[in-house]
């Protein structure tokens, strides 16, 4: 909600600066951003009482003297003769109607009304609707204006379970379905109560006689409707968050006053229906409890004085909560009020003692498995739980985000296969992935959960000269896994590539095992690796194609070998993504070492060019040229 600093400052004695008010609002828990002297407020959903200028001023009254007493029309009102029936008194226990006829429509607004539109950059509509919008901004109570000449017949408020088309005052057609609280005129829906009025009975620029409806709707009757019908409605936003059930009469009188300040009124009549009394919340005064909750030592006088400033009525033994504060019911609620006023940051820390719980081993086994897989060069993946295609025992999502997320996945391997193909398309030639997750299925209406480990791998066994020429196979994986965890059965299998949209021919090896099937022997595995303890600053990745260069060196002076290898492996360049030794041959007969390096290049800005690669290779070659005893056979 947008509230102008100017409108706040005008009603605060002492004219505090915008920064000072901003600090106070944060202290009170009212998040906001400031743009062009306008507070763009983001209130928590329990603070419907703050959704107005007066509401915010009321909260700021713990720090400042504020004015929230706008003038109202105080004369006795003639009884309105209206044919109205409320069949939903439980969800609309209070409603008032005002009928008002004016002589002329004013051509100019008073400063306060004009400023509302100018300062908040809002469009004017028509005289009565403009006043309705202004009052909603000023005191938080939405009202609805009907053109009184269009209201002929029986007006009914009812929660109806009926399908009917309805055209809003913004000319949007909506099909009402299921239960809706509506106003009916002669059995036809003219207003989606608390959300938006209809076009057929709305006011126009020529309307001189208005019927103003001012109601208290319970939030449960309104909630979810604006989202359901895709309607942006300030009224529903307020009703969903609770409006003051005791402000309808005052709102009607404020409406008359504003009209009166703009033009001559020919006729006024009003009626107020109170079907149920508002329940007053009373809480015992207990300063010890408040201090215990917050961890402070404030006096009862200060406590009560602060609550009084917020509009709470103080009696000998209890506190009466004002009607607009539906969020206050308990001592903890009152403690939060006091803590906000003190300022959360001004409450001192008290040393906490934590009762020692038992050391859990819920995740010990799977953590060990993860470290084992880490040692074997596998990367952990976390996939979405949603899939587009299910099986006969899949759990279906009633309200999926889209058709690709209609079910909960019933295995992990299919997601891992997608991950593998995704990385193959990105020129990865050695891919080893795993995932540990719960799988949910349903059988005979019973939901079953199984914790699984899935592994998938394909391509080269590794990026080193020993593994470079070895392809990942069932035998290869079984052998290295058995060596480390001899008593576990991973049951690797080969996935068929035929149905996959890929040109890569490497075998895909996978397995999916219930975590419960692993034995406690896993816990005795001595891992070589451990996850990083410090946090790595991530470098954005490039999705552009990479380029590979292989260079094979012949070394005859072995004294330079170690230094040379170190230089190449440590060589850094912004285009050089990876370097490793893919070939090593000791030719004892010729007294020669042959060593092959693979260089993988990629640019973050554009597809890497031959020239860019050559420039980097030339830097390496310049270094090599200066060392006697190292050559690249055939390199010019």
């Amino acid at each position: 909600m947008k509230i102008a600093y100017k409108h706040l400052a005008k009603n605060i004695i002492g004219n505090p600066s915008i920064d000072e008010i901003s600090d106070r609002l944060f202290q009170l828990g009212h998040e906001h951003e400031i743009e062009n002297n306008i507070f763009n407020m983001e209130f928590t959903p329990n603070r419907g009482d703050c959704l107005s200028l007066n509401g915010l001023l009321r909260d700021l009254s713990v720090f400042y003297d504020v004015n929230t007493d706008q003038e109202i029309y105080s004369e006795k009102l003639k009884m309105l003769d209206i044919d109205f029936k409320n069949f939903s008194q439980d969800i609309c226990p209070k409603i008032s109607f005002l009928k008002l006829e004016i002589e002329n429509i004013p051509s100019k607004y008073k400063d306060y009304l004009n400023d509302y539109f100018v300062d908040l950059n809002l469009n004017k509509n028509n005289f009565f609707t403009d006043i309705s919008n202004y009052i909603s901004y000023e005191n938080g109570q939405p009202t609805h204006c009907y053109d009184a000449d269009k209201i002929n017949g029986k007006l009914v408020l009812q929660e109806l379970d009926t399908d009917q088309e309805f055209k809003t005052l913004l000319e949007k057609k909506i099909n009402l379905t299921n239960k809706n609280l509506v106003f009916l005129l002669n059995d036809k829906v003219i207003n989606l109560a608390g959300i938006v009025g209809g076009i057929e009975t709305s006011c126009s620029l020529d309307t001189k006689t208005v019927l103003v409806e001012c109601a208290f709707f319970k939030p449960e009757a309104i909630i979810g409707k604006s989202v359901k019908y895709d309607i942006q409605s300030e009224a529903s936003h307020k009703f969903e968050r609770f409006v003051d059930p005791e402000c309808q009469d005052r709102t009607i009188r404020r409406f008359i006053k504003i009209v009166d300040e703009h033009t001559n009124i020919k006729d006024i009549s009003a009626i107020e229906y109170k079907f149920k009394q508002n329940k007053v919340t009373k809480i015992p005064i207990d300063i010890d409890k408040i201090n215990k909750i917050i961890g402070t030592n404030i006096s009862q006088d200060i406590y009560l004085s602060n609550l009084s400033k917020l509009g709470f009525n103080i009696y000998d033994d209890h506190i009466e909560v004002p009607s607009y504060r539906s969020d206050i019911e308990t001592q903890n609620d009152l403690a939060e009020e006091i803590a906000r006023i003190i300022g959360y940051d001004n409450i001192s820390r008290n040393e906490i003692s934590i009762p020692k719980g038992k050391k859990s081993n819920v995740y010990d086994l799977e953590n060990k498995l993860r470290l084992f897989l880490l040692d074997k060069g596998f990367y952990e993946i976390i996939n979405s739980s949603f899939v587009g295609v299910g099986s006969s025992n899949s759990i279906s999502v009633d309200n999926p985000l889209d058709s690709n997320k209609k079910y909960l996945r019933y295995n992990l391997t299919e997601s891992l296969l997608e991950n593998l193909l995704y990385n193959e398309r990105r020129q990865k030639d050695s891919i080893k992935l795993f995932e540990i997750s719960d799988i949910y299925t349903v059988k005979n209406n019973k939901i079953n959960v199984t914790r699984k480990l899935a592994i998938i791998a394909s391509g080269r066994a590794g990026h080193n000269y020993k593994d470079f020429s070895t392809q990942i196979s069932k035998k290869h994986l079984t052998s290295i896994f058995k060596e480390a965890l001899p008593s576990e059965n991973f049951e690797f299998k080969v996935l068929n590539r035929e149905s996959l949209n890929t040109k890569v021919k490497n075998e895909i090896i996978c397995c999916e095992v219930d975590i419960a099937n692993f034995s406690s022997d896993v816990l005795s595995y001595e891992n070589l690796s451990k996850p990083p303890e410090s946090f790595i600053e991530y470098t954005p990745i490039s999705d552009l194609p990479s380029s590979i260069r292989d260079l094979s060196f012949s070394i005859k002076d072995f004294t330079v070998l170690d230094k040379f290898i170190e230089y190449i492996l440590e060589f850094k360049h912004k285009f050089l993504k990876e370097t490793y030794i893919f070939d090593y041959f000791n030719n004892e007969k010729n007294a020669e070492i042959k060593i092959g390096f693979r260089f993988i290049f990629q640019s973050a800005e554009s597809t890497i060019t031959e020239t860019q690669v050559n420039d980097v290779i030339n830097v390496i070659m310049d270094y090599v040229d200066e060392i006697d005893g190292i050559t690249i056979p055939g390199f010019k």
């Binding site: 989202v227 215990k292 906000r340 719980g357 990367y379 739980s385 999926p400 990105r426 996850p531 600053e537």
Partner: protein
């Protein structure tokens, strides 16, 4: 010049894999909390409305309960948990105070953009004992935040609203760029929640906190788009070795 027989071949550099950065962050935070004395508990991702909402004082009228915020499954008989708090409810129903639990895992909400995903990870902790105060909650939060972001980090507490805590707060840290960044929510356990779990709220009080693991991981690693974590791109994952 020596013979090639005397030359040792280059050391074979075995490829090491990586734990997913989100799980690594989860483990770090869980280990920290366990070192404080919290006990790890676990619970299902498919929950009932009773445990996910009712027991936590999230009323039928709360927007979170609408179809546009929560994923319902199997003809609305169950839902995908929207937070890890139901695990704490299950824990409190099983054990009497004093207690201190922490739980972490996947949670689900109907969101999908650069900063929100329909599936993300949370860690939540709860402590119930005699005379637990907001001032003690602050002490615990300072300890957690200092352990995660260093002793020098500046933090602020802002009043907020969660139906299951009262008073409630959100905690921000000041970034190097001078911007306040929200990192966690916390509060004193609403006495209604304790009573729902058969814990006498006249005698016991509690504190609770929850944080989004992706949020913390994004801040710690400098990742700008949450979706990067779930693309399974090896170029991304290999940076977290």
């Amino acid at each position: 010049m020596s013979s090639t027989k005397d030359i040792s071949p280059p050391k074979i550099i075995k490829d090491k894999g990586a734990i997913h950065p989100i799980n690594n962050m989860k483990d770090s935070i869980m280990n920290l909390l366990v070192s404080f004395g919290f006990e790890i508990i676990d619970g299902p991702e498919i929950e009932t409305e009773e445990f996910n909402f009712d027991m936590l004082n999230i009323k039928k009228t709360h927007p979170a309960r609408q179809m546009h915020d929560t994923f319902y499954v199997e003809n609305k008989s169950n839902l995908l948990r929207t937070h890890t708090s139901p695990v704490q409810i299950r824990g409190m129903l099983e054990k009497c105070p004093p207690l201190a639990f922490v739980s972490g895992g996947k949670v689900y909400r109907k969101d999908d953009d650069a900063t929100h995903l329909p599936m993300f990870h949370q860690i939540e902790g709860i402590l119930v004992d005699e005379n637990v105060s907001f001032a003690q909650l602050k002490d615990l939060i300072y300890k957690i935040v200092h352990a995660l972001f260093g002793e020098d980090v500046k933090l602020r507490f802002r009043p907020s609203y969660f139906p299951f805590t009262e008073p409630s707060a959100e905690v921000d840290i000041l970034s190097n760029e001078g911007k306040w960044l929200e990192i966690l929510g916390c509060g004193l356990v609403n006495p209604i929640v304790l009573d729902n779990c058969n814990i006498d709220s006249n005698y016991y009080s509690g504190l609770a906190f929850g944080l989004g693991i992706e949020r913390i991981a994004m801040l710690k690693h400098g990742v700008r788009d949450i979706r990067e974590f779930y693309k399974s791109n090896l170029d991304f994952l290999c940076q977290f070795k």
